[in-house]
Structure formats: structure tokens, C-alpha cells
Amino acid sequence: MMSLNEVKLSSVRFKDIVLKQYLYKLKGHSGWIHSLILIQLISLLFSMSPMGGMSSGGDSFHININTYTGDAFLVLTMIWMAVMTSFLGSQAYRSIDFSLVSNRITSYVSNAALILTFAVYAGITGTLMSLLQRMVLVKSLGESEFIFGGVQMAPWDILLSIFVATLYLLLLASVTYLIQMVSALNKAAGIALGVFILAFGFGWIRIFEFKVENVLLFYTAESSLGLFALKVIGSVVLLLGLSMLISGRMEVKR
């Protein structure tokens, strides 16, 4: 029986759903942003203590050199990124999409957009934190102490730092996502892939005579920014494409 109030079919646009899912998950996972802020504040504490130093002196003078590093920001931010990405790729989190309107492609694309957003955010805040570190160090300087390298960073250097950090985070995220996708298909294969990538990436294994000294060098040793960006973006597209192919082999929700 027809009725005036009958619910009618609505047309569904791919773009709309992706955007809605993206915004929904951005709000829904905002707790992760808070965890990143916390992590970065903790790493600020770590980086306040010198990681190395030397001192020498004579009868009339004494020199003490302390080395500070922002590595803690990078390492902890990278760990955060890897954890967050593997959450996003997990079955439980993918079910979040399928509890409302979704198909595999929209879920995948909105996740990719989310990863990109988080990488940019972490890249920016990570860089700003290292600026903050310098400022705090300057404030804590005692009498007859001074800082090498200056307090200010050129705006160009800041942008460069953000860009490079974001690219590294993206690379890490796409590797993590691929591992998560393979695990969803087969747990053992996922673990094996993770161990393999870790060992391969850091050059701990050799295959016959072909010794992969250090796959990471492919990226880290690149001195041209353009080529570096191209290498990373190419790898990211390849890795994410691969995880999309793998997720396409699975049933939507198990």
C-alpha cells in the first residue's frame, strides 16, 4: 500500500559518503589527537636532558658542551602514527564504517584521507615541538651559557621540516596499513610480513648474494627534495594500492 509518508529511495554519491565518513571518523577519533599532544609533551621532557656532552678545561677556563636532540619527538610521533594506523586498519575499526553507510572503497578512501590528515598534523606539531624545545632551552640557559645553532629557524626550514616529517610518517603509515590488511587476510602472513619489512628495511638480512644493505637508505640518502618526495609518494601509492587490492579479496565484514 502506498502512503504519503513512505520512505523513498535516495541516490547515494560516492564523494558525499567519503566526506561524511571522513568527518565522522575525524571527530570520532579525536581522542587520538589528545594522545599525540600528551606524547609530545612527554617527549619534550625527555629532550630537556642532554643526550651527550663533553667537557674540558684548563687552569683558567672550563668548557662544557651538551648536545640536545629532537629525536624523541620523531621516534614517539612515529610510534604513535604506527599504532594509530594499525587501529584504523583493524577489523573493529573498519566495522565503525559498516555500522552506518559504507562500502569497501569509501571506507578505504576515508581511512587514507584520515591517515594523511594525521600525518600532516603530526608533522606540523612535531616540528613546532622542536622549536619549543629550543625556546625552553634558551630560557633555561644559565650565566655564561649559550646555544649553538640559534633559536630561530628560517620559515623555509620549518616548512621543509614539516614536509619531510609528514612524508616519513606517511611512508610508515602505509607500511603499517599494509601489514594490518595482510593480517586481516591471514594472521600468520601479517606477522611474517611485519618481521620481514623490519629486517629488510634495516638491512639485517641478505638474499643470496643480493645484500640489501639498507632499504631505508633509498629514502634517507636522497639529497634532492623533489626526488625524495617522489620516491616516498610513489612508495605510499604503491603500498596503499596493494592494501586496497588485498582488502578487495576479503568479504566486507566478518
Binding site: N5, S11, V12, F14, Y24, G28, I96, L100, N103, E251
Partner: protein
């Protein structure tokens, strides 16, 4: 063209056959109860209709489309079950707000009204809800989203009986105001019976019956009385598969349930021999129709 069409559907998980030889059609704007015992294939069937699982063989058409991984079907469908997950950073009231964006016919008045009525805490997180409250919340989303295709897999899990009744009433009221195609799965009919129009009864992965509630009410009749009389006048004139159930409930007394359409003419005359003829409730009927063997749990103990 029916809203949902299923032909020779088959679904296997490895060696296990979950669904086989299943064909049926569901018309637009009906409420169908998907009834079956544990493991009858209800959830598998619903997930295939929702497009979450791919059939091993056969086909499903929803709105004349293959629903598997199809956005057009997904956008017009909601699948309510206990595996629904919502982000932990959102409170319940925020989830309602966010979910509204996905559904063009979302009714926030109904959503808020039901939310208040069932006294859910707006500041709570979905992951911390009790089983019953989670089911209530998921059901509210299912009703308020007003999707042309609303699938609910055991929506009342964990709800107490008062809440179950209220939920069925709310669903029925909203359905009458805004007709849509609803499939509700359950292993027990009891309270569900009053809101359903059709019943699709599954047994061990295949269809046992697909009829309207009215037809189901007339599907069988029960005969209660002297065992000898019933055996002589009725039992011997029926084929084995036309007898749905028989039970000796006291010495020399028999209760027999048989399919109405196969009853011999003049069966009413049994009343003269003090045989009671009684209608068979739909939930009992469904149990008889899906019973593994003739007899029941009693027979297990007899053999022992």
C-alpha cells in the same frame, strides 16, 4: 519486481554449509520475521542481503542490484545487530548527531524521544554500555534512520521483557507512519508475532516456510483426546510428513498436530468422541516445523 529476490542461494564457510537451496522474494513495505533455531542461517542470510557477505552460489537482488559491497544499497539500508561499533571518542548523544548526517530521512525527534524514554545516559560511551542498553541504542539508530531497507538481527538481545515490548511497539508505530521494508530475525516469535506481517522460517540453512501470519495461524490444527480414537480416526489416514507433532501427555491420551490442508474430510466429527480441536500457536508451530526428528527431548531420555 520484488524489493528483495533470492534465487538458489548457497553459502559455505569452508566445509560448513550455512545456507543452501534458498529462494524467496520479499515485497516492498512489509515487515518480515526471519525465524529459525540457532545456526539456521539467519545472520548469514541477513549479512548477504546487507551486502557484507558474498554468496557462494546463486543470487540476491536488492532493488534489482547485487548488494555485495554496493554503495547504492548500503546508502538505503541499515543493519542493526550486536556487532555495531561506534567511535569511542563520541558520547551517545554525539553518535546520534553524527549518524543523522548519513541518513536523509533521519528523524531526530523520534531518536531523542526514544533516547529519553529508555533513559540512556547521553554522556556515556557506546563501548561501556551493558548488553541490553547497547541493543536499545542500536535499535534507536535502526528506527530513527528510517531506511527503505531496515535489517535487524536479533535486535532484542539482552533487553528485559518490558523494554522488548516497548521496542516492538515503537518499531510498529514508526513503520505504520513511515512504511518501509523491515526484516527482523529472532529465534523466538512470542512477542514478535503481533507486529509481523510475514514469516520466513529457516531450518538448517534452507526455507521451511514463507507465509503471512494469517496463513501461519491456519497452517496446523491440534487434536487432544483419547489416544485410541485419534489413532484410528485420524492418524492412520495421514502421511508421516503431514503430522507435525505428537505427544502422549497422560496415559491413554494423545496430542497430535497435523497440517490443516491435509486433514481428511469430516475431521470435525472427532469432537463427538470428546477430542478437543485446538488452534496451534505460531511459536509452537515454528518449533514443530523445525524439529530435528519426530518426537522431542523426551525421546533422548527414553533411549537412554
Amino acid at each position: 519486481m520484488s524489493f528483495i529476490e533470492v534465487h538458489d542461494l548457497k553459502k559455505t564457510y569452508g566445509n560448513i554449509q550455512a545456507i543452501h537451496d534458498l529462494s524467496f522474494a520479499i515485497e516492498e513495505n512489509t515487515i518480515t520475521g526471519l525465524i529459525g533455531r540457532n545456526g539456521a542461517g539467519k545472520t548469514t542470510l541477513l549479512r548477504m542481503i546487507a551486502g557484507h557477505l558474498k554468496p557462494t552460489q546463486g543470487e540476491i537482488k536488492v532493488l534489482a542490484r547485487d548488494p555485495f559491497d554496493d554503495l547504492a544499497v548500503a546508502g538505503n539500508m541499515i543493519f542493526v545487530d550486536d556487532t555495531m561499533v561506534f567511535p569511542d571518542s563520541l558520547t551517545l548523544v554525539n553518535i546520534l548527531k553524527e549518524a543523522a548526517a548519513f541518513y536523509p530521512y533521519w528523524d531526530s525527534r523520534i531518536a531523542d524521544g526514544l533516547f529519553d524514554y529508555f533513559r540512556l545516559n547521553p554522556q556515556q560511551r557506546h563501548g561501556n554500555l551493558s548488553k541490553g542498553s547497547k541493543s536499545i541504542f542500536n535499535a534507536i539508530i535502526g528506527i530513527a534512520s528510517r531506511c527503505p531497507l531496515t535489517l535487524m538481527d536479533e535486535p532484542t538481545t539482552g533487553m528485559d521483557s518490558a523494554v522488548r515490548k516497548d521496542f516492538y511497539r515503537a518499531l510498529l508505530k514508526d513503520y505504520i507512519d513511515h512504511p518501509r521494508t523491515v526484516i527482523l530475525s529472532s529465534h523466538l516469535l512470542g512477542e514478535l508475532e503481533d507486529i509481523l506481517e510475514d514469516i520466513l522460517l529457516l531450518d538448517q540453512g534452507t526455507k521451511r516456510a514463507h507465509r503471512s501470519i494469517l496463513e501461519m495461524k491456519e497452517y496446523a490444527l491440534g487434536f487432544r483426546g483419547n489416544a485410541q480414537v485419534i489413532r484410528e480416526k485420524l492418524l492412520c489416514r495421514l502421511e508421516e510428513e503431514e503430522i507435525l507433532y505428537q505427544e502422549e501427555f497422560a496415559k491413554g491420551s494423545l496430542y497430535l498436530v497435523a497440517e490443516t490442508e491435509h486433514l481428511p474430510e469430516g475431521y470435525e466429527k472427532l469432537r463427538q468422541h470428546e477430542v478437543e480441536i485446538v488452534p496451534v500457536g505460531i511459536d509452537d508451530l515454528c518449533i514443530y516445523l523445525t524439529a530435528g526428528k519426530k518426537g522431542g527431548i523426551d525421546d533422548v531420555f527414553k533411549r537412554g
